[in-house]
Structure formats: structure tokens, C-alpha cells
Symmetry: C2
Amino acid sequence: MGKKGAEVRQQIVEIADEVIYQRGFHQASFAELAEAVGLPKGNFYYYFKSKDELLAAVIDHRLAGIKVMLQDWQQEIPAPQDRLRRFLRIPLNEATRVLQYGCPMGTLSMELGKTDPVQQAYARQMFELFKAFLQRQFEALGKGKEAEPLAMHLLVWSQGMAVMSSAFKDQHCLQHEIDQANTWLESL
Amino acid sequence: MGKKGAEVRQQIVEIADEVIYQRGFHQASFAELAEAVGLPKGNFYYYFKSKDELLAAVIDHRLAGIKVMLQDWQQEIPAPQDRLRRFLRIPLNEATRVLQYGCPMGTLSMELGKTDPVQQAYARQMFELFKAFLQRQFEALGKGKEAEPLAMHLLVWSQGMAVMSSAFKDQHCLQHEIDQANTWLESL
DNA sequence: GTCTATATGAAGATAGAC
DNA sequence: GTCTATCTTCATATAGAC
């Protein structure tokens, strides 16, 4: 695959990322993706040898994005407490989309868990990046052995607020839970 | 549809309930259901005029089950505090399935949110039953206007633990979150 | 009233043309 | 190296047989 091909492939991955988020992996068809990219559908098999490979590429793309974001936070936000607060701002910044489609990581993980444990395990890496980041912040706050369950709890909370606010299409629920979580962080 | 037909229909609903939970609504095909029920696949359209109608019947079935369960709790458990604790025992009793397939309500709601807001709104009724029940218990505990957000928070927590413990296939995470939630209930 | 054979369309995938 | 025409499979759905 040449330079042009790599660019097109990258473009497909970015659009597939969004379509898979909004419609779900199984519901996102090549025909749909093709129209979004502006490419004939049969063409996908030049860039990806299967739908699973496309999914893997999308997950890799997400992983890379998360890594960059977390590194940026690490560099630009000095206080561990503020880094944890920054994490809680994600669902707020993405409120409209969270209400409509849920969390991109949570919904993908749940979907894959019902059809393919291997793909689900691969998608889990996204959570693991966040978990490791959050855990480091709690360790920096002197939480010692509690850092791991605390990190997990923050992930639990963020996923729960995404599911329920999306199920009820309730922006206030989302806002309230984020506020409560921030208060909880300060109380630690 | 005669007496026999109604029985068969009921049997299909019960099996479809389980298959939809384990495989997801879109992934659950008539062929798959047919084999599980022991019926030729073309037959479903005698009992349900579309897949959506089957889904509606499954949700109705779940709603009926939830209503009976909550009424039983109301009758058999005198203390509101204990009724809240009973709610938290669901994910523990269903731990194996929660780790494999997530929460039946949460995963269905998230899946439908990506394809059909109308069906998602219908499925939401399951959450509303639980929410109303939990809210009544918090009101009985004298929480007044806080009863509603407290009920929502317990739902958020339960959904979050289901998503994360399932994503990580981590029974200890589930157990720990349930313990923490019980402790939180006592602190109120 | 109950069930079966078949239609129709869309999905993922491939072989081979340009 | 890039793209297109086509294939196969399997989904939901229907018409009509028993």
C-alpha cells in the first residue's frame, strides 16, 4: 500500500471510528461506511482484509488518541487532583454525544462481550490506559494500596453515569453525577 | 391464536429474552431462536409480525417480572434500608452472567440507543420501575427531595459496576463495588 | 388455526479488471 | 497498486399450503 493508500486507510479508520460509535460495530455496514468515506463499498477489502481487522484498526486508533491525551494531561496539569478532575470533564464536554450514544468504550466493550470475547479483551486496553493513569494519580495522592480500587471506582462511576444518563436522556443526571464525583474526589 | 398458540408464544418470549440478553438484540437471529425453541424459523411470523414486536413482547415480559419481584420485596422485606440492600444483591446473585454479558437492562438500552430511540424509550420503563422503587425507599428513610437523585445514583452505581466488571471479567471488582455501595447505604 | 417453502434484500467477502 | 463487478450467505419477511 502506497502513500496515498495509507492516507485513505487512515481516513477510513477515522470515519469508521465515529460510525461504529454512533451505530454499533455490528450495525455499521461497509455500505454505510463507504458512503461516509465516499468510496465504493467493495473497496474496503483493499484496505482491510476483514471487518474484524477494521475494528482492530479503529481500536488501535483510539488507543493512540487516548495515550496522547493522557500524556498531555500529565504534562500540562501539575496536580494529581486536577488530573482526576480533568478525567471527569470528558463526559461533560461530550455530554450531547454521551446522552445519544453512551460512552464509546463502554458501549463497544458491552457489544463485543456478547459476540466475541477476544475482541472485547482487545478493546479492554482502552480502559486499561485510563485505569493505569487514574491509579498513578491516586498513588501520587498517597493512597497506596487503595489506589487501584479507587481508580476502578472512578471508572465504574463514569460508566454508570454514561449508561443511566443515556438511558434517560437526562443531562441533569449526568451533570449531577459529575458534580458528586468531583465532591467525592475532594473529600479523599 | 388459541390456547396452545399462546403457550408457544410465551415459551418463545422466555427463550428470546435469554438469547437477546446473551447475544444482543440485533445478533439474535430467528434461526438462532428457532433452534433454541425447537421450532422452524419461518414460524415466528405466526406468533410475531416482526422482530420489533418480539422485542416489545420480551420487554413486556421483563417488565412484568420486575413488577412482581419489587412487589415481593415490598411485602417480604419490612425495612426500606434492607430493600435497598436487596437491590444490590441482584448483581451478586447474577455475578457469573453479569461478568459474561453485562446487565440485561443496561446492555439492551445502550444497544437500542444506537439504532432506535423509540425502542430505547420503551426499554427505559424497566429502569423506571427500579427507580420508582428505590426512590420510595429513600423517601421512607426521610431523604425528601434527595430521594430522586439518590435513587438515580444507586442505578448509576449498579450499571457502572456491571460495565466495568464485565469489561475486565473481574469478579473481585464487582464484589468490592457492591460492598462499597452497601457501606454507603449504611452511612446515609 | 398452524406451519412450510420461498422471496427479497443486505450483509461480508472475493476474483479479477484496470 | 487501486478499484469494480460479482458471489455467497444469511438476515427478515411473506404467500400460501396443510
